[in-house]
């Protein structure tokens, strides 16, 4: 698969971004972090592409910083959904812990920001999967309507599928890819993520479409 085709497939996030931006004023504000997240994804894809074309090493820095922003935005989304019992201190505690872990994992990496922070990526993927599974279970118990047009459901499924495969990829990167493997093997290996990314981007586009609209409450008088 050519690099250009991979880049084009990674741009499939643009559908979620367009739907999110068009519906932004109408949707429930608790979903704003999701819209910010998919928009950030698109920006990161474009910036990475430019940097890769310029053969600039900063692409890894962008990915490393994105991994932190990715976690923070999703955590904010789950907080809005009431996952941390709407406890602001607990939420800020979790964010602070992960910021510290990110700093430590980046600092201890061989080339700091220029090395992929794989340990942090595995850890935050686990955290996001746990958050999603808990939210998903809550949905099963509490949802009294149809589930298929439930944005939360599709976002949770997207997170569970994407980050499970992401953990496998990162773990393999930590072990197998440290050996002397051919470029062809590495390229084919990363193709797996391209397809899972495409699948999840389609799920996110559906989720953006089904985000519930903002409720307009009546004034007292």
């Amino acid at each position: 698969m050519s690099d250009l085709l991979k880049f084009c497939l990674s741009l499939s996030i643009v559908f979620a971004v367009i739907i999110g931006v068009v519906r932004f004023r109408k949707i429930n504000p608790s979903y704003y972090p999701f819209i910010y997240r998919v928009s950030l994804c698109l920006v990161v894809e474009l910036v990475r592409r430019v940097l890769i074309l310029q053969q600039n090493n900063a692409a890894t820095i962008v990915t490393n910083i994105f991994s932190l922003a990715d976690f923070l935005l999703f955590a904010w989304l789950f907080h809005n959904w009431g996952l941390f019992k709407r406890n602001r201190k607990l939420f800020l505690g979790i964010l602070s812990t992960f910021v510290v872990i990110w700093c430590v994992s980046t600092y201890t990496a061989p080339r700091h920001l220029f090395s992929p922070n794989l340990y942090f990526r595995i850890l935050y993927s686990f955290a996001l999967i746990f958050f999603s599974v808990t939210t998903f279970n809550g949905l099963i118990i509490n949802t009294r309507g149809g589930m298929l047009k439930n944005a939360k459901l599709w976002i949770c499924i997207g997170i569970i599928i994407f980050y499970t495969l992401f953990i496998i990829i990162c773990a393999t990167q930590l072990s197998v890819l440290r050996e002397n493997v051919s470029k062809d093997f590495q390229r084919k290996f990363y193709d797996v993520m391209v397809f899972s990314n495409l699948f999840v981007n389609v799920l996110y586009a559906g989720a953006a479409l089904w985000i519930p609209r903002r409720k307009v409450f009546t004034a007292v008088f």
Partner: protein, 250 residues
């Protein structure tokens, strides 16, 4: 890629595919079971609410049609007593007044159980009547805004009426509000009832997590069986707002 890399790549690919399939199967199965459980849950709630409403209808009808005429007959008979004794006359007057009170109170109870206006004149008139009677009783300033008229079946009208009863009851009893606004409107193909009060409010999230009261559960159950959704926003000191949305059939 050499042979070793090829086999390694195949193994990794198999792992990824197997994990993907298991995840998808797991998710699809859960959603299917949720649907089945939802259908059973709705049937159960519908049966409970139908039983409750039927029982209310029966009691209201018994009170109104059987006890009412009987009490009127008793009153007539008492008034027909021809006693010359002043004490007896006083007693007859007193009994007659008591019977009047009983008849009036019985009508109120019967009307509360199943409002005649709701059955005869429809939802909006029944709400207007209910709001009026409560404004007088509780000194609560209620603003009712009806932006659209609806043709709903009686079951739905009864459920909406009960929801308004519950909200008003909560406003008086728990929120201790002095003002309540009720707006009925139509948005696309939805019946929308929104209410807001200026009461003390409550932590809705904490309440629903710990022990949603019978009233809140009742609101939710009635919204569910109509295929609708009820949303509550409340914060301590900032009043309480509800939005009920029910899909309308074409």
């Amino acid at each position: 890629m050499d042979t070793q890399e090829k086999s390694l790549y195949s193994s990794l690919l198999i792992v990824v595919i197997v994990v993907g399939i298991i995840l998808l199967y797991f998710i699809v199965t859960i959603i299917r079971y949720q649907r089945r459980s939802l259908v059973l849950h709705k049937e159960k709630i519908r049966a409970e609410i139908d039983t409750l409403e039927n029982e209310r209808k029966r009691i209201a009808s018994d009170l109104h049609d059987e006890l009412g005429p009987l009490l009127s007959a008793v009153k007539l008979q008492i008034n027909n007593l021809n006693s010359q004794d002043a004490e007896d006359k006083l007693l007859i007057d007193k009994s007659s007044r008591h019977i009047d009170t009983i008849i009036r109170r019985m009508r109120e109870i019967s009307n509360n159980l199943m409002p005649n206006t709701l059955v005869r004149k429809g939802l909006v008139k029944a709400i207007e009547e209910f709001v009026q009677s409560n404004t007088d009783t509780y000194k609560l300033s209620v603003k009712l805004i009806v932006e659209a008229d609806f043709q709903l079946d009686l079951d739905k009208e009864i459920n909406i009426y009960r929801i308004i009863q519950e909200i008003l009851h909560n406003t008086v009893k728990h929120a201790r509000a002095s003002m309540l606004a009720i707006r009925i409107s139509r948005e696309n193909n939805l019946f929308v009832l929104s209410t807001t009060d200026n009461g003390m409010g409550f932590d809705f999230f904490a309440r629903s997590k710990e022990h949603a009261g019978l009233g809140l559960r009742n609101l939710q159950s009635r919204a569910e069986i109509m295929g609708g959704e009820i949303t509550c926003i409340s914060e301590k000191g900032k009043g309480t707002s509800y939005i009920l949305e029910i899909p309308l059939l074409n």
